[in-house]
Amino acid sequence: MADFKTKPDELYKSIDHTPPKAGWMDVPAQFRPGNWCYPAKPEVLDYIGFPNGRKWSPADEDWKLPENWKDIIHQGFRERLEKFRSLKIFMDVCVRCGACADKCHYFIGSGDPKNMPVLRAELLRSVYRKDFTTAGKILGKLNGARVLEEDVLKEWFLYFYQCTECRRCSLFCPYGIDTAEITMMARELLNLVGCNINWIQEPVANCQRTGNHLGIQPHAFKDIVDFMVDDIEEVTGKRIHVPMNEKGHEILFITPSGDVFADPGIYTFMGYLMLFDAIGLDYTMSTYASEGGNFGLFTDNVVAKKLNAKMYAEAKRLGVKWILGGECGHMWRVINQYMDTFNGPPDFLQMPKSPITGTVFKNAASTKMVHITEFTADLIKHRKLKLDPSRNDHFTVTFHDSCNPARGMGLLEEPRYVIKNVCNNFYEMPAQTIREQTFCCAGGAGLGTDEFMDMRMRGGLPRGNALRYVRDKYGVNRMACICAIDRATLVPLADYWANGVDISGIHELVGNALILDGEKEREVDLRQEPLPGKEG
């Protein structure tokens, strides 16, 4: 948060939802520090084969666009209208009823009318009308149409990188217009002329080469896991074995690399490893497919497919029966709604079946990939885990539904069931901020970067305020989530809007409560903080 100095009170007071006098077509995009992300480095774009890599800044007057950029966009638009019925329908049917307007976290926190999903989409629609509809060609501005000029492209860049594709607006839209879909299309168009951001493209490049967004190479990956095994031993007295790149196991486990890399994700990762040890799971991890997440989704559907393909490729190479996936948000949007279409169906895999309980995961019959909270909830239901929830008694917990598992999947009860079985103190945030109505962390879809902190804190207001409410009312000091991006972005968000609340994954809490065979009497939790009653 280096350059971001605004205090929460000042920021809150500065929010004004009154639109400006001038019509939105007459208000040019304003790039100010904190509301845009750094553009992709040329070498990164070159590596992934994207056009127009160059040094530039959105704050510059000249964006160094290719000479025929208008044609490129026009052709790209036309092609996508044929390829995506969603785009065509969403361009045509909006009635601008405004039901979506105050559903966007960025609008709530910024008051910028172009953050209303309806206007965000109109940025694209206005050009669609001019280029592809008779009425727009004839009536022009009167029909909400306008010519694609450089200022319009700048607006696209600003506002389609101020959308986290969280789909909250889509839930409320009477026609199901999905701004995530519109943003994806707009970002694909922007990619064609080299207007994209580094926080997305560099992880994509990393993932392609090293197998994960963070660029962790295989030997380093193993080192990190060994460190965590050491830490688990320190806490539990038990040394556990983590199979890596090994053939002949039953299950391949894939989790977002954020879990291996940074606090507090690493504690969740430790929780997975302890769980697998406790039940004697026959599994392996992979360094080649060491990324559950998929920043390709924030880039382009072809790139998303390409990155995703490693999962099945590795499952095939290692000869596993099915795949288990860790806690991650957009990863599960991809697995639940895209993976089978991208790269499936994987006929070389078998119907996922829990080796411990015998439960067949029928809802993964084709994709053959199961969410870890589905898996763990089933274990708990069948009483296969020895748990001591009192080891989490120093936490009063709430749960943040991550956007994608909530609105792109419907994974609502499974995580709650797990939390309630491993924690004694659990309270929900207000109903309008959880489950399918959940609010974004404001750093998803590749926007979780520090230079974007002003918009992140603004967009984080709805989540932060709901968190503050349960903190003050119930003494909540821990917000659990099932997303690696959340575990990175909610930490500054909570510090800012609801100071005193820590963030963790669910399997960190599982790891705390889980009693391993042969473990020593635990004094500390996975963060090596004293357990309740062991403080002295």
């Binding site: 929460p8 929010i15 639109p19 019509g23 939105w24 209208l81 390829k83 995506f84 019925r85 065509k88 009635v95 601008r96 009823c97 405004g98 307007a101 709530i108 009318p113 109109e122 008779t134 009425a135 009167l142 029909n143 909400g144 889509s170 409320f172 009477p174 026609y175 199901g176 080469r209 190479q217 295989p218 030997h219 080192d223 790149n245 090994e246 080649y288 497919k305 393909a309 490693k310 490729a313 639940n336 709604q337 993976m339 279409t341 991208f342 809802n363 993964a364 019959a365 084709s366 994709t367 990939m369 589905e374 909830a377 792109g408 609502l412 009860e413 399918e436 109505q437 709901a466 503050r468």
Partner: protein, 334 residues
């Protein structure tokens, strides 16, 4: 300004019809040619638009899930907000199309300061849902009632509808509730755009125009029935002539009828080229009309691009020595 332009345009349409029939004696044009042309544009326009949508691929199954997924047997699925089968999806669509399910969820946000504590509050906001439903259903009932002018014999349900709509037995001719409610509904939809700043900000001429146009249709219809008391027998002669394609224009039809039919024709012509196509689009919206079952049943992308991942072999070639050193298994020894 957008509202003003739209209003001017609707007034102009009214005047053109009045002048056209009154002074220029163009009753055949307004009574026969325009409505027939309008119907053709309406039907052909809608068919082309829907075919155009249908032509585009549906590469991915992307429902917006509004409740618990199908999961373990002991977890209750929210089948209507997160369907996993075709029949559940059908019910979701029924709720969406007939009862505006998503709009029913609407909330309104307000930022408050309570004793120095910032409070982001959400309140239920069902007004839009209520008045939208009122408008759409009134319109539907009115359209169905009008079948009595286009069918002979009149289908059984039309007199029933007529009776129910006028069941309050107020005035002569009896007041139709739908006439009242459509004006109330339209007025609300119009006023919220004019009064609430953010809705005024997002409203185009294309938003005011259909509201004012339909209001004009409703008001001209109301005038004809309750005030002008026009000759319905003569009008039916004209409308039946249109349906049977043996057009005739009986004498003695009030000018208000030509205003009404000119506005209706404008609506029909405008419809396929405008946001009014949401009527058709709602059925095709991929976030609503698809089940959330891509993990269960394969969905095929007709243009699935042929791309391969960066291969394991290339990966191992890149890092083999490090992997061996770290004790990771490799396919090929160095």
């Amino acid at each position: 300004m957008n509202a003003f332009y739209s209003l001017i345009f609707v007034f102009a349409l009214v005047l053109i019809a009045l002048f056209g029939v009154g002074a220029a004696h163009l009753s055949y044009f307004f009574g026969v040619i325009l409505p027939l042309a309008a119907v053709i544009v309406f039907i052909v326009g809608i068919v082309l638009k829907v075919l155009g949508w249908g032509k585009s691929a549906v590469p991915f199954r992307i429902p917006t899930t509004g409740g618990q997924q199908q999961s373990l047997d002991w977890i209750k699925q929210n089948k209507w907000d997160n369907p996993s089968t075709a029949s559940q999806t059908f019910i979701r669509m029924v709720f969406e199309v007939l009862f505006f399910r998503s709009l029913f969820r609407n909330t309104s946000v307000s930022l408050r300061n309570e004793d120095g504590v910032p409070v982001v509050a959400y309140s239920s906001a069902k007004w839009l849902w209520l008045f939208a439903l009122m408008f759409h259903y009134s319109f539907l009932i009115i359209v169905l009632r009008h079948l009595r002018l286009f069918m002979d014999p009149v289908p059984f349900f039309v007199p029933v509808l007529d009776f129910m709509d006028g069941i309050l037995q107020i005035g002569a001719p009896r007041l139709y509730m739908s006439d009242l409610l459509i004006v109330v509904g339209l007025s609300f939809l119009l006023l919220r755009r004019l009064v609430v700043p953010i809705f005024r900000y997002i409203s185009n001429a294309a938003d005011y125009f259909p509201l004012l146009l339909i209001l004009g249709i409703a008001l001209s219809g109301i005038y004809m029935r309750y005030f002008g008391k026009v000759d319905v027998i003569a009008i039916k002669e004209l409308t039946m002539g249109l349906v049977t394609l043996s057009p005739k224009v009986p004498a003695g039809i009030d000018a208000s009828f030509y205003v009404h039919i000119a506005l209706v024709s404008t609506l029909l012509i405008y419809f396929p080229f405008s946001k009014l196509m949401h009527m058709g689009g709602v059925f095709l919206s991929p976030t609503r009309n698809m089940p959330n079952n891509t993990r269960i049943v394969h969905h095929e992308n007709p243009w699935n691009p042929d791309v391969k991942p960066h291969s394991y072999e290339a990966y191992e070639d890149d890092f083999r020595e490090h992997m061996i050193e770290a004790g990771l298994p490799v396919e090929k020894q160095a």
